[in-house]
Symmetry: C2
């Protein structure tokens, strides 16, 4: 097998999976998914080499797991034991930025911050900010990544216009194009987005870029009357058409952890730090309009029960938004044993938080919450060192979310961490369809078999 892979990508780009130098590549950032033991790690340089790797692996009856930057939180890039781990690290070129059509064509290994900076040179932005800007484009397509700005711009799915991808049988497919819209057969672009390397390996991505919005205002509103008031405020803000670019919920302990991890002092009165916080950023083309909207926002928040409305100075605002983006690292540093990425209807966020905390209490688990409130996407940090109690807590939390009309993942994906939750809690008919689709595209189970829909 080594020789077949060396023929595919060059011997200098194949390393045995048990080589200590590749140990860091054998897992992503998912807390509950142990590192895999791949047989080999390979670094193809282009589409043809990806095809050759897939063909070699399939011929040998070995599976392939794709890896971008390894920043995923569900274990989708964690290889199955014995698999070929295919890193896209060498396929990291921005092929084109077209400011007229406002699109970029990139290889899957390009990092989000690299693309965003390159777009910025044309007055444009790629607004998918999933919290880790070193994430790769390919990885974010695989997970349909979201993040704080999805409340305004939508998730990855809303930005990908076309793909080039390699199927399990080595066929190269091209979907979509530099096209703002398309209705020409089933949308294969959309089918591949979020499929976590199980239907095809993406080798090129065409994304939509957006005009950069230079004006910005950020307010922080602590609520002392419970998360219900936060949920109601979010509905009003979105419903008024204020189109926030960030609309985040943080409970008191998460706010403490986030600020501590970022060494950030906001100067809140101590009795308000433990409140339920709503962090809202407005962005626009013109300063005076954003200022006017910020006043409307502050009035709305006050009328709906905010204990205070703090107009954050630009520097503090930027640091707090960045710190919130890094909340995963903050709660990880604080010892969280698992994180949850459930999504519920926007209006059900407070109810879900309440039920999740009750589940935690029943199992002696500590449950902290924050989330993309404008999207109903709740991130919980669960502290419970006992594996059985942790599993019971998670099961109860997932069941509570589904009972409220939710889904197991809003933006992190299913990966290996949530495959059994999805299988247990998803719609049986829909899951059966997805399994049939998977079998139709990858009948031999070559692509990331331990991941996603099983």
């Amino acid at each position: 097998m080594f020789q077949a892979l060396a023929d595919a990508v060059g011997a200098e780009h194949v390393i045995a999976g048990d080589d200590p130098s590749v140990a860091d590549l054998c897992a992503d950032e998912a807390l509950g998914v142990p590192a895999g033991k791949p047989a080999y790690v390979v670094w193809p340089a282009d589409r043809e080499e990806v095809v050759a790797v897939v063909n070699a692996a399939r011929a040998a009856g070995i599976s392939v797991t794709a890896r971008g930057a390894g920043t995923g939180l569900s274990g989708a890039a964690t290889p199955d034991d014995g698999a070929v781990l295919l890193s896209f690290a060498r396929m990291d070129r921005i092929l084109e930025i077209d400011p007229v059509d406002a699109v970029a064509v990139v290889q899957p290994g390009v990092a989000l911050d690299v693309l965003d900076a390159a777009a910025g040179e044309h007055g444009l932005t790629y607004p998918v900010h999933p919290g880790e800007q070193s994430a790769s484009l390919g990885g974010t397509v695989a997970t349909n990544a979201g993040g704080m700005r999805a409340v305004r711009y939508g998730v990855t799915r809303a930005h990908v216009l076309g793909l080039e991808a390699v199927l399990a049988d080595g066929t190269v497919v091209r979907t979509g194009g530099r096209l703002a819209k398309i209705s020409s057969g089933y949308d294969l672009t959309q089918l591949l987005i979020g499929s976590e390397g199980t239907l095809a390996l993406v080798t090129e991505v065409i994304v939509r870029l957006h005009p950069h919005l230079p004006a910005r205002r950020t307010v922080l509103a602590p609520f002392t009357g419970g998360a219900d008031a936060v949920t109601a405020a979010v509905g009003r803000i979105v419903g008024a058409g204020l189109a926030p670019s960030v609309c985040e919920y943080l409970d008191g302990p998460t706010m403490r952890a986030v600020c501590a991890a970022a060494d950030l002092t906001l100067g809140l009165p101590e009795d308000l730090v433990d409140a339920d916080h709503l962090l809202v950023e407005l962005a626009g083309r013109r300063v005076e309009r954003v200022d006017e909207d910020a006043e409307e926002l502050a009035d709305t928040l006050s009328a709906l029960g905010a204990a205070e409305v703090f107009d954050l100075p630009a520097g503090s605002a930027r640091r707090l938004v960045e710190a919130r983006e890094k909340a995963f690292w903050a709660v990880k540093a604080a010892g969280a044993d698992e994180i949850v990425d459930l999504v519920v209807p926007r209006s059900a966020m407070a109810a879900f938080l309440g039920r999740a905390r009750a589940v935690g209490d029943a199992h002696g688990s500590r449950v902290l919450g924050c989330g993309h409130a404008g999207d109903g996407n709740v991130h919980l940090a669960v502290f419970q060192p006992d594996p059985e109690q942790l599993a019971a807590t998670l099961h109860g939390v997932f069941a509570a979310g589904i009972a409220l009309g939710g889904a197991v993942s809003g933006e992190h994906g299913v990966g290996r961490a949530k495959a059994h939750h999805l299988a247990e809690l998803g719609d049986p008919g829909a899951l059966d369809v997805l399994r049939r689709v998977r079998a139709a595209l990858d009948p031999e189970g070559t692509l990331n078999p331990g991941c996603s829909v099983r």
Copy 2:
């Protein structure tokens, strides 16, 4: 078979396909697709009756074509000969409008204008305006309908959050939910959108609603220097972040036809009527901002070569936008033999128009053009009574669009009209995948076999 269908939906809701009373239901509005000869037409009342019809048809080896309002332009709702034509006309209830989550839950037979009016009572709007507001929600999901407002809001795909649907084997599946985002397995919602009744029959739709924007300004800019200048202006308008709610191109003859059909006199100087026209509407929450943006827009258009920039009074603006929405009827009344719905990169619109007209000239066909310029979605009217010359013109036009990076349909769908163009011009690898997906979901070919991916 009659009895089986009568058992499914009640005898009073089954009519033989050759009954004169159902003749109008045997085709949609596609110009080049002849009416089908269904064996029966049925009107189920609910999901269970849809399941029963599908099961009865499959058991008898008869196919099923779904029909919404019959306003489609690709023949997707035209039944195959001998099929059961399943009308969703009785499943026309709005089940819920939830202003807090800004979602609506509707049956597939609900008309767009009915939903939009109901949303309006809550200060909300459903912004999919494909040009025919009597279109049904189910039909617009089936075709992934777009329309003039897609340049701001996106096409149907961007608004559908969840579906209930009946598969070919009678299974009921539920996808998505009242969820702003989701990443929980392959996105079955997105796979079913645009599948034109070939993968499943949609029995319930959850859509996202948007805040109504009360302020509006509309300008009309004739360009006498060719369509290139229009294309350049569109790029600048979108790139500046003006976020137009309408951004339409009309060539001179189409403008004449549209105004004549609507009995609309704009008072343009005669020498400007035959220019290339750009019609741009801005919408927003506040009048003064929209006015300010309209000035910026007018300055941009003048600087980029518009011969004049007319600020349309509200009444004329509304009538012209409505008349443009009805352009299909105008060119049909003028004797058009076929219409084309190609999409190309936004910057390639003028090049495509030029090539399409050259193809027309080569075959003695008259080719008029208009389109959703902000999306690169070009609608051509082709006048050519000779079938062979018409087919040659269409073939050349489709090939020209594909060569520019386009796709055979931007928003009308493939249906029966474009199935052979897609099969000939689509990416072979991608088409093979879509055929495998279709076979996996409908192995017996029960659902609309003559339509879409074949």
